[in-house]
């Protein structure tokens, strides 16, 4: 059995209980039925078995995943895990939620199914995440209360922040203090925005000047290194980059993977399969198939012309863009297909955030080197001469 991990972004519903301005998802009142879950599970397990993969990560999100209720999740988890165990496989579950409908009723399932952790989202300042009644202020107030309740119940909470013009205007120092001091978080990550789905007026607020964004992120990186890195604050994706540049195992975000098509898919409540949640909710032309209608997920992934574009994208980029000359190719590979597609109408081009990424990578490299030098001076690491690999087969050979 291989060490590969396959991930599925599973959207049990497209419904949502909030009214964020920039949401690109098509919010249908459709839910994944318990009756269809065994078929979905069987398709996933068949695929894992065919590929020789032992573990599958399930990222539950929506819509708003908590709309399904804790009892539904408890039953879904029990059913899926039992089916996996019977075939010598394992599902590992993660939950991404807006937290608005969190209550202590969730704690049992969060502990048993999700390892006492969850992911949620909040921006600073929050201008665009809104409740149906009460707008952004009410959203922030409710979300903050739920966050503190969950943390108080022993749930580990990671927060994703999408940057917008207001974030850049507030500056990296205030931004950092909001998450670490005002909210008291030990783990959060920043995402670059992209205009998925149909065009909306609010998108102008997310069309950020690349130079200003690069400057903001570099500043945030410096602040985190100064105040958070050594004090147990995880700030993604900077933490993964620091791991990379100091020689530690690093799990970089999907936007910088060699080829995201090899590693995950997304499935919505109707069984639609696409590359990730951004594609499955926004771009019907890119659907791979339907897991409830197609006989085999493996065969669907092998033969889907839409998926073939994802498979071929990195090859295309090193042949036609300047990625091959980039010193950061090994940690970027041309960036995110959906960010590219949503900006340019084609995925066969490098990510429009290329220059922003380079600025972040450069900052990470500088900080990484400083850390290594410091460790060296402290005697933690002694440089070792590279020795020739043993011959003939032990190391030099494949």
């Amino acid at each position: 059995m291989s060490d590969r991990v396959f991930s599925v972004i599973l959207l049990p519903t497209a419904e949502c209980n909030v009214a964020c301005d920039y949401c690109f998802e098509h919010k249908e009142p459709h839910r994944l039925s318990m009756a269809m879950l065994p078929l979905l599970t069987r398709q996933l397990l068949d695929h894992l078995e065919h590929e020789g993969i032992k573990e599958c990560e399930i990222y539950w999100q929506g819509g708003e995943a908590m709309i399904m209720g804790p009892a539904w999740f408890a039953e879904a988890g029990r059913l899926m895990d039992a089916a996996a165990a019977a075939r010598g496989r394992r599902f590992k579950h993660y939950l991404q939620t807006n937290l608005i409908s969190y209550s202590p009723a969730w704690n049992d399932v969060l502990r048993t199914m999700f390892g006492s952790s969850l992911g949620t989202s909040m921006d600073y300042p929050n201008l665009h995440r809104k409740l149906f009644a009460g707008g952004a202020e009410a959203y922030t107030r409710t979300w903050t209360e739920r966050l503190h309740e969950a943390v108080g119940a022993g749930i580990e909470v990671g927060v994703i922040a999408v940057l917008h013009r207001g974030s850049l205007e507030a500056g990296p120092d205030r931004f950092y203090r909001y998450f670490t001091e005002d909210l008291g978080l030990k783990s959060f990550q920043v995402n670059t925005p992209f205009p998925g789905g149909p065009a909306k007026a609010v998108e102008a607020d997310f069309d950020l000047d690349k130079g200003a964004l690069a400057q903001f992120l570099a500043g945030l990186f410096d602040i985190w290194m100064e105040r958070g890195h050594a004090n147990g604050v995880a700030l993604g994706p900077f933490d993964a980059l620091i791991h990379h540049f100091t020689g530690a195992p690093a799990r970089l975000p999907c936007i910088w993977k060699e080829n995201c098509s090899n590693q995950f898919i997304s499935v919505d409540s109707k069984g639609t399969v696409a590359q990730c949640d951004c594609w499955v909710t926004s771009y019907p032309e890119s659907f791979f198939g339907n897991v409830f209608r197609d006989a085999s997920l493996t065969e669907m992934l092998r033969t889907s012309p839409a998926r073939q574009q994802f498979v071929e994208r990195p090859k295309h980029l090193v042949e036609h863009e300047d990625c091959l000359q980039c010193r950061y190719l090994s940690i970027c590979h041309g960036g995110c297909p959906v960010r590219t597609y949503s900006a340019l109408g084609t995925m066969l081009a490098k990510d429009p955030y290329c220059e922003v990424y380079k600025a972040v990578f450069g900052r990470a490299e500088t900080h990484g080197r400083t850390l290594l030098r410091r460790r060296l001076l402290n005697g933690a690491v002694k440089p070792a001469f590279h020795h020739a690999p043993a011959r003939p087969a032990a190391a030099a050979v494949p």
Partner: protein, 261 residues
């Protein structure tokens, strides 16, 4: 492994490898069917598969990524300048088994080297008797290997050469490049086991520049084969740059030892 003490490692076509019982061997696979069969049923004694002409076959790499065995692979590129982007097909496979990429130092090979390095794939560069163009690219490759912090995996022959020139127990280039018939019995060469010693002795006897060359021990006449009249001036510059790097590392280590003692 103690190949040097026993029988040399045989390189066999898939057909010839069937039923082979004479020790360790490498199977050369050239079709998807051969590849799948040897991945599925790796007989005892198989050290690795040498995969030829299959880089563009997506289905073959889907099979190789299924992890039915851990058998290592040596993927051969014949025209790295045009084949390089196909290395992305190895991404899943390298998670489940060791994968190395071997390629001739033919003009344009830097593209494949850069991409292989960015995918953390070890590389074996086969220099042969490099042309002027290839030498310029080899110099670029050596600089890339020595100085680019993004390179995390070995690039042979630079990697072993750097260690040898830095004072580690040294093999010859023939050995580093797996071309010494004492250890590697490649069918196409059919050289006697004492080929390297005799080749070098012959060169010295004939008054070739090897006689007084400072790299004689590590090179052992590698660049004088098959044409003994090959002009080694460019090669010597290349070796010199690697020697400089080895010396620099040695000095850095010595100063570090002094600083910490």
């Amino acid at each position: 492994m103690s190949q040097e003490l026993g029988a040399p490692l045989a390189f066999l076509t898939a057909a010839a490898a069937d039923g082979y019982r004479d020790g360790s061997y490498v199977v050369i696979v050239r079709t998807r069917e051969e590849f799948a069969r040897w991945l599925r049923e790796p007989a005892p004694g198989v050290e690795w598969l040498q995969v030829e002409g299959l880089l563009q076959d997506q289905a073959a790499w889907t099979i190789a990524a299924q992890g039915t065995s851990k058998l290592p692979l040596d993927v051969i590129l014949t025209d790295p300048a045009t084949e390089f982007s196909g290395l992305y097909r190895l991404v899943d496979t390298r998670v489940v088994r060791s994968v190395r990429v071997s390629m001739p130092a033919a003009p344009g090979f830097m593209k494949a080297l850069r991409l292989a390095a960015s995918l953390q794939l070890p590389v074996r560069l086969l220099p042969g008797q490099p042309s002027v163009e290839a030498l310029a690219e080899l110099a670029e490759a050596a600089h890339f290997y020595l100085h680019d912090p993004m390179v995390e995996t070995p690039v042979e022959f630079f990697h072993s050469l750097l260690a040898a020139l830095g004072g580690a127990e040294g093999d010859t280039l023939w050995m580093m490049l797996e071309e010494d018939p004492k250890v590697f019995a490649r069918d196409e060469a059919r050289r006697p086991r004492d080929f390297v010693e005799k080749h070098l002795a012959g060169l010295v006897e004939q008054g070739a520049e090897c006689a007084t060359c400072q790299w004689q021990k590590v090179c052992a006449g590698y660049f004088k084969w098959p044409d003994p009249a090959y002009d080694c001036a460019g090669v010597k510059q290349l070796l010199s740059s690697i020697q400089s790097a080895a010396d620099e590392i040695g000095r850095d280590l010595a100063s570090q030892e002094t600083a910490t003692s």
